[in-house]
């Protein structure tokens, strides 16, 4: 056989990779099961302690302690969940409609619209941040859920992905539906979208993580703690990362808020990988 590198060498390297990847998370988990004093002593244990339940309880429902001041994780996780969900639904709907128009209709300015949307790829939030903030503030959307999610619902990637997917659908399928008397919207709903489910699922997984992990936008748009997202809540808790603080609670919050992305990777890694590769085409 070709490329007969010894199997154990391959396993060795990959296991090393996994250890490096997992160690920071393992350490966070260990820290989340000890008390603050043990961690503050500067001799980090490598095996779990007995304070896990207390720490997670505190992170989940209080979010603050003697030397930590944050937002309860149950609030930040709920906010991030809603935010991610809104972004997924919004982006999928908005970009599917656009791609449908671009692929199946011919109309004046079609290419112009397409390029206008394509250009947004070149304008990350970071480069237009102040004027975008101003727009949202002029629309009186600061500290609102709409302000948090609506501006993130546009994406060229979604549109490009749907366009790719739609282009691979045989035209005969639609012609047949038309002969049966289906109109354009009927065709979208009953023919095009069902065939595009795998692409849509892959896109949704990526968008969900994107929404769940948002930081800069919520940092600017929300000051109200009730709207704190996961990332904002964690950053608030961490503060200046002093040696003497309730690291146990911070780490419990870190682990709790990581469960959702972790679950996504474990149970949907196939879609995640497919989505990453599809989006790049």
């Amino acid at each position: 056989m070709i490329g007969m590198q010894r199997k154990w060498v391959a396993h060795l390297f990959l296991i090393l990779g996994v250890v490096v990847t997992a160690f920071p998370l393992y350490l966070a988990f260990i820290a989340s099961t000890h008390d603050a004093a043990t961690i503050g002593r500067g001799r980090m244990p490598l095996l779990p302690g007995h304070y896990g339940v207390d720490n997670y309880e505190q992170a989940w429902s209080v979010g603050s302690g003697e030397r930590v001041n944050g937002t309860p994780v149950r609030i930040t996780m709920w906010n991030s969940f809603l935010m991610a969900l809104a972004i997924v639904v919004g982006k999928v709907v908005v970009s599917a409609l656009t791609a449908y128009a671009v692929v199946y209709f011919r109309f004046p300015l079609r290419d112009f619209f397409f390029w206008l949307i394509f250009i947004t790829l070149m304008l990350p939030l970071e480069v237009r941040i102040i004027p975008t903030y101003k727009v949202v503030s002029d629309l009186r959307l600061i500290n609102t859920f709409t302000g948090l999610t609506l501006p993130l619902m546009v994406s060229a990637t979604g549109t490009l992905l749907f366009r790719q997917v739609f282009l691979t659908i045989p035209r005969e399928l639609l012609e047949a539906a038309k002969v049966d008397g289906a109109g354009p919207l009927r065709c979208l709903w009953s023919v095009v979208l069902p065939v595009s489910t795998p692409g849509m699922a892959a896109l949704s997984v990526i968008l969900f993580l994107y929404g769940w992990n948002q930081y800069l936008w919520p940092l600017l748009i929300t000051t109200d703690r009730k709207l704190d997202t996961v990332a904002i809540g964690l950053a608030r808790m961490l503060g200046n990362a002093e040696g003497l603080m309730d690291w146990n609670v911070v780490m419990a919050a870190t682990i709790l808020t990581s469960t959702i992305p972790t679950g996504v990777v474990i149970f949907m890694h196939r879609w995640l990988v497919q989505g990453l590769i599809e989006v790049s085409k």
Partner: protein, 295 residues
């Protein structure tokens, strides 16, 4: 664009279909970007009451500021170090995982794990290991006679930032390299083996050249990641410090705009970054077209 005939003859419906996307794009992308460009050529007081055209003054201001050049140099050095480091590790791991292995999925899931986590989470995990007084790595280093304090030493802060960024991006690069290595035709490898090529020869002469479009693609993606997506990591880990040691272009733009309220200066920096992203995107696009051409 593909030139196939329309499936539906409707004249008004397509406009309705693109309206949501177009409205949001114009309000939240195009208009603010034009605003940023406009602001980069004007000067206004902090309250935005009076505005006047000043030509290239804002650009002159930033380009004569040594600290701005520092942030430019830093951004490129940082991006290049992260990209090369992460790609070397990911390519090695992908090469190891290329043949069918037991537990391949488990490896993949573990390596992708950090990719799915928030940048802030990444920063917290790494700051916890390197916290000068309680961090486990800092403690070990102290026993070895090395003083670690990234809140005082700029070089250490940058190193920490690089490590955290690399850790986060390995999985993403791994997935693409693995796909590229899998797409190499088996017949090439068999022919090489028949000719007696060693495993390292196969790698350098066949696999790596054939994976080079992926390498280029990943380089661009890693540079974009390092420039823009590291904001959360920087803001949580170092806040651009100590003494601007980790103040990348993006972070500086944020500080000038939202902390110092130098709106016009910040806008000029936006314009520079916009130009940079445009060049990157154009490169990417041209290159991908070439790739399609060859396939």
């Amino acid at each position: 664009m593909t030139k196939v005939s329309a499936v539906f003859p409707n004249k008004v419906l397509p406009y309705l279909l693109v309206t949501p996307q177009l409205t949001l794009t114009i309000i939240f992308f195009i208009w603010p970007s034009l605003q940023a460009l406009y602001q980069s050529f004007t000067a206004s007081d902090p309250f935005g009451v009076k505005t006047r055209f000043v030509g290239l003054k804002n650009f002159r201001d930033i380009f004569t500021d040594p600290y701005y050049w520092h942030s430019v140099r830093l951004s490129f050095v940082f991006a290049l170090q992260v990209s090369l480091f992460v790609m070397a590790v990911a390519l090695l791991l992908a090469f190891m995982a290329k043949n069918p292995l037991r537990g391949a999925t488990v490896y993949k899931v573990f390596l992708l794990w950090p990719y799915a986590l928030a940048p802030v989470t990444t920063a917290i995990l790494w700051v916890f290991m390197f916290q000068p007084s309680i961090g486990i790595v800092a403690t070990v280093l102290r026993y070895m006679g090395l003083t670690w304090n990234h809140t005082l030493h700029g070089g250490q802060a940058l190193l920490l930032l690089i490590l955290a960024s690399v850790w986060k991006q390995i999985g993403y690069n791994f997935v693409f390299f693995l796909a590229a290595l899998h797409s190499v035709p088996k017949s090439f490898l068999e022919a090489a083996a028949v000719d007696g090529a060693s495993s390292s020869q196969i790698f350098t002469r066949i696999l790596f050249p054939l994976a080079s479009p992926t390498t280029f693609f990943l380089l661009v993606m890693n540079v974009i990641f390092s420039f823009f997506d590291t904001f959360g990591i920087i803001d949580t880990l170092t806040k651009g410090g100590p003494a601007k040691a980790t103040e990348t272009m993006c972070y500086r733009l944020f500080v000038d705009g939202f902390k110092s309220f130098l709106i016009n200066r910040s806008a000029a920096q936006s314009a520079v970054l916009m130009l940079f992203v445009m060049i990157l995107t154009a490169l990417q696009f041209r290159f991908l077209q070439h790739r399609v051409h060859y396939e």
